[in-house]
């Protein structure tokens, strides 16, 4: 089996916003619709304060709350873990946007353009199917599917890899197959301490955050930034 997942290395992200810009270009989302966002966060109080840039977006959960509340079954989960939205079935009720604990979903009622009137590029790429429905990060599923058809490996071959991962200037984002113990993502998780957002909710995100090197067996337990603890 395959379980596509993304990893953000919080030690490497510099908050440059290139992934956000790349996502908006690749998916032609309207102004303000950032399927891949990077939060600028602070921890502690002056003078003992740290800053962290935290990439967020759809977590492609094992048990997605957005799917359970969808009255039309527009939101589905594929066998490879990617959570999808069928725009033809979506009625724009936005229950999913409320249910998502990651604030990952957007809904745009009317066409929006960068400078009011559409540019040539915007007019060409405008997709009315995305109006008045829920939208979110797709893990660039079209690139993944097309790449696999060509024999490419998502996360390794750029053509088959999400645009945000390709664009990252710091190599902070990684995409790959969790079910393959030799994959890039599996190796990173084995070698580093990591957490998932809102783990306590039981959603099973397919998005992991690295924050330090793995602790050797028998070492002291260290707190995670979310307040939990990992051995």
């Amino acid at each position: 089996m395959t379980r596509w997942a993304m990893i953000a290395d919080l030690r490497r992200c510099v908050g440059c916003q290139t992934c956000t810009a790349a996502c908006r270009h690749a998916n032609a989302t309207p102004p303000g619709v950032q399927w891949r966002r990077v939060l600028d966060m602070e921890f502690g109080e002056y003078p003992d304060v740290q800053r962290a840039f935290v990439p967020v977006g759809c977590q492609h959960c094992d048990d997605p709350p957005c799917m359970d509340v969808c009255p039309t079954k527009a939101t589905k989960k594929r066998a490879d873990g990617i959570v999808t939205i069928d725009y033809d079935l979506c009625i724009g009720c936005a229950y999913c946007a409320v249910a998502c604990p990651y604030q990952a979903r957007y809904k745009t009622e009317k066409a929006l353009f960068a400078y009011g009137q559409p540019t040539v590029s915007e007019a060409k790429r405008q997709d009315d199917a995305q109006l008045a429905v829920a939208t979110k990060c797709t893990f660039c599923v079209e690139r993944i599917d097309a790449g696999i058809e060509k024999g490419q490996q998502p996360g390794v071959d750029p053509e088959a890899t999400p645009a945000c991962v390709n664009s990252c200037i710091a190599n902070a984002l990684t995409f790959g197959d969790l079910d393959d113990p030799h994959s890039n993502v599996s190796q990173l998780l084995a070698e580093n301490q990591h957490f998932r957002m809102h783990e306590e909710l039981g959603t099973g995100p397919g998005f992991y955050y690295l924050w330090d090197k793995a602790v050797a067996a028998g070492s002291r337990v260290q707190p995670t930034p979310t307040g939990g603890a990992r051995p």
Partner: protein
Amino acid sequence: MPAVTGDANCRAASAELTDGAQIHDLAWWKENGLATKSFPRTDWYLFPTLVARGLRFELPYQERLKRVGAELGRRLHEHDMRWWDKQLEEYQALPIWKDFAAPWVAAVTVAGGQPRDYPFWLLTARSMQYAWGGNVGMQLIKEVADNIAGHRGVIINTRTAESLGIGDGDAVEIATPQRAVRGRAVLRQGIRPDTLLLIGQFDHWATPFAKDFGVPSLNTLATMSLDLTDATGSGADIVRVKIAKTEEKAA
């Protein structure tokens, strides 16, 4: 280094240095240790004179800076030019400690204010997203830049803001004795309590889109002053200011 590579390097280097006249292998260099080639005396520059007079090379920054300052001072004074005298004092071999804050505090008095009424250091910073500003007319860049704290207003220490009754997003006025700008407060922990930060300098932009940012700039408050100009002919982007919450409609 593998012996084969080392041997090739030796041959190539000796060939290059002698224009192909001598090609020595690794074994030759191991045995001889060094090789010499002629170097015209005219290419020695001042070295023979330095040796003859028992001189040494001057230290690049310390001594050279002091010498250049003395030379520059003489040239200026020959023409009775005295307006650079204060800056000439900075051409020192080993500067002693000096009060860096003093010129900016004094500038407040010169501008007609009381230094105690302008307790903040206002700084500016480059924005990673805007870089040199060539992309400032692009909506996408503003959109992503706004995700980074400070692009929507003035960054102020959270505790300082609370002591002044300023909340996140509040309209504020930043003022010198001479001028004032208005914007919104961005509360952050990661800044000194006595410091304010205005990212970018876009309030003078006149081109479409960028002219409507509505974010204040340090440049509007900074004063062109010879007293704040250092020996390099430049000055630091620093202004002593005060900040206060202001009415909402003005922001």
